[in-house]
Amino acid sequence: MHLAFPQKNFKPKAGGISIFAKLQRNKKFISIIIFLFTLYYLLFRESSSAFFNLDSRKLPEAHGLYNDETLTTRTLIFPPVEHAPLLKQLGVSLLFPVAHNGIDKKAIYDQAPALEETAKDTLEDQTRNVREAFKNTGKLVFDHKNRKSPEVVIVTDIDFEKYELNHLTKIVQNRVDYAQARHYGIYVRWTQEFFPSVSEDKNDNSWVRLLILRAAMHAFPESKYFWYLNQDGVIVNYDADIIQTLLTPEKLNPLLLKDRPVVPPSGAIHTYKNTKPENVKFLITQDERGLNTNSFIMVNDLYGRALLEFWSDKLYRNYNNFPLKEASALMHILQWHPVILSRTGLIPARTIASSHSVVENTDENNDIFYKKGDLAVILKDCQIRKSCETEFDTYWSKLHK
């Protein structure tokens, strides 16, 4: 009668035996799990291919054109413009050690050996200072560890053989005023500083803009955008913040000219139809001759650097079939190298490079000439009209009423 009642003796003993018994009972189940786990391990284990990190301690530091560099916390880097008359008087051949090539008697300037050896004590103090200062701007590098880098740097080359002191001051002042209003940086260098780099070339100084832009990227390593603006360009709207109005993807997207011929009006190669604004590393406008290299914006990253260094390669600078020099080279690059083209954005001329109109512009629908509110005006061909200074002054006086 009481057999069905559980007896104490029937209870399994506590301890190891019961676990063992459980295991025994679930043998099949456990072996299947082990099998699956082994299979999983064999098939899906991560291969140990942690690719490497190289020890870079022994490698040399990067440097610009000069081996010795000076850190500075100035966001506005420009040469002492007041030296222009004296520099002009000294002439380039006194600023650099010079050799002459035998063929066309062209002067070849030598960058590396410093100037002081030539005739240090024979020169007056003032001349020596001027020459020192001429060389020293190029050594300045922004100290990005101790001060926040500006987001945008405006880059310009100024030519003391072309313009008088008065005009040069206005050019630099214009950039300084804009940069201070918007907390940007500026990077201005003498065109002549780059003569050693371009003096062996067949083509002329217009290539200097690429070299100075490269130097600027080196001097402001943490800044993102570099806006090259030619010395014949005036910034006419100090309130326009190019990051807010142009460079954010939302603003840039509607501005990008997609599926447009790179060389107007009927070039075979068009810009891509589906360029994403985040991928654009290079912004440039077009004029009636092609691409307008007097004003363009570049991002300081792999793409910007690669394009810039490739664009300014000696083999391009010496090439005979580039009538518009660096502009021809750029049109060539964009038509032959699709990866670079895919990172390029064409934008309407009036965003960063409105043209100066000689006659009073009355057409409301024009998309080339300056209208009130535009960011910058390019005084294109003002040298042919021999009116660079006066044209500059008309815009300058509007700004400084």
């Binding site: 291969s47 291919s49 190289l54 040399p60 530091e61 990067a62 490269r214 083999l315 090439y319």
Partner: protein
């Protein structure tokens, strides 16, 4: 009337051709015969008879197996273990890649058929060399789970109008990178190469060893046969990863065997490598085509230079004695059995040397070095 399910047209035609008077006779179809066969007459007493014990021939085997169960299981385990040892781990990786639909991490690009079919017919020896080379790479790729793609280097007509014969290397690299979008590294190998130490994986031989192996040309002590400028502005070696590994022989860069990573940088490099304006000015000077163009780019473009690491020639590209003959006494270039060099590249064997003989020689070296004692199963 019998309904025909005539399968073939012939049958139909036959049917049509028979006069209708004959149609009433029964056509000899196999179908009806089958029906007759299916009907079997089972005697009613059959079920009552005692069933004979059915003994299949497997039953005795089964019994025997069950009596030696444990021994057999042990034996199977041992056997599986040897199969596992014998089975190259690369196969697992390849299986894994196939299941997960992944690209291999490393892909070997083998350039085959150089100039084949256009300049001359391939002879028996050329076929043999090509076969040996391909089999060698296949074995290696399977062993370590790498991808292998064999690319045809036949001179293509499409290049002749834009003057770039034998510049296919760049195009093939671009095309292969599109083919394997998730692969990390690509190893380019010319046809006349032979991997003599296939047991070395690229990871253990090269990638885990890079700190000791690679050098940059920044110091007078670095090997620099081209006398390249050691110090150019803007080259930032310190903050740049190495994305291409090449070697230098006695005459400069050698692109017979090199590694390149898939990255935005390499995409740009491959995009600008061939430029018509450069080519027009330099094609008379650039004797080795893309190799010389690459040297020029290295010379002038810091963004390219800073991401290139150099490996000693012997690490992935050892030469046979015939190559670099003017530096014949310099052991740093030449394959040496005692050093167990990884790859031999019979560079230039098609210009006056015997590719086939060299290939056969290195195959025999491989056999000799990797001879196994009889008792070793794995």
């Amino acid at each position: 009337m019998v309904i025909f399910h005539s399968e073939t047209r012939e049958y139909k035609q036959l049917f049509d051709s028979i006069p209708s008077s004959q149609l009433n006779s029964r056509p000899p179809t196999s179908r009806t015969m089958d029906h007759e066969k299916d009907i079997q007459i089972i005697p009613p007493y059959a079920a009552l008879q005692p069933r004979k014990k059915q003994r299949s021939p497997f039953a005795s085997v089964k019994m025997m197996l069950s009596s030696f169960k444990k021994t057999l299981m042990l034996l199977t385990c041992v056997l599986m273990f040897f199969v596992y040892l014998k089975f190259p781990t690369g196969r697992f990786k390849q299986l894994q890649q196939r299941i997960l639909n992944k690209d291999p991490e490393i892909v070997i690009i083998l350039a085959a058929n150089e100039g084949g079919g256009v300049l001359k017919w391939k002879g028996a020896q050329e076929w043999s060399v090509e076969r040996s080379s391909i089999n060698n790479k296949k074995y290696y790729a399977n062993k370590h789970g790498y991808g292998l793609t064999i690319k045809d280097m036949t001179i293509k007509r499409r290049y002749s109008h834009e003057w770039r014969e034998s510049w296919e290397k760049v195009d093939i690299l671009k095309q292969t990178m599109r083919q394997f979008p998730n692969t990390k590294w690509f190893w380019w190998l010319d046809l006349h190469t032979y991997i003599i130490e296939p047991q070395l994986s690229l990871e253990e031989h090269i990638f885990n060893n890079l700190n000791n192996l690679t050098y940059r040309i920044t110091n007078e002590k670095d090997f620099n046969p081209l006398n390249l400028d050691l110090n150019i502005p803007y080259a930032d070696y310190k903050n740049s990863p190495v994305e291409m590994l090449i070697t230098q022989d006695c005459g400069g860069f050698n692109l017979g065997s090199f590694l390149i990573k898939k990255s935005p940088w390499s995409e740009l490099l491959l995009d600008i490598w061939w430029d018509p304006a450069f080519y027009e000015q330099m094609h008379m000077i650039w004797e080795h085509k893309e190799q010389d163009a690459f040297e020029t780019l290295y010379r002038t473009q810091p963004w390219i230079r800073e991401r290139i690491g150099f490996l000693p020639l012997k690490s992935i590209n050892a030469f046979p004695p015939g190559a670099c003959s003017d530096k014949a006494d310099d052991p740093q270039f030449f394959y040496n059995e005692n050093d167990r060099d990884f790859v031999v590249n019979m560079a230039g064997c098609e210009w006056g040397r015997d590719c086939w003989a060299e290939m056969e020689y290195y195959k025999s070296v491989d056999r000799r070095l990797h001879k196994k004692p009889w008792y070793k199963f794995w």
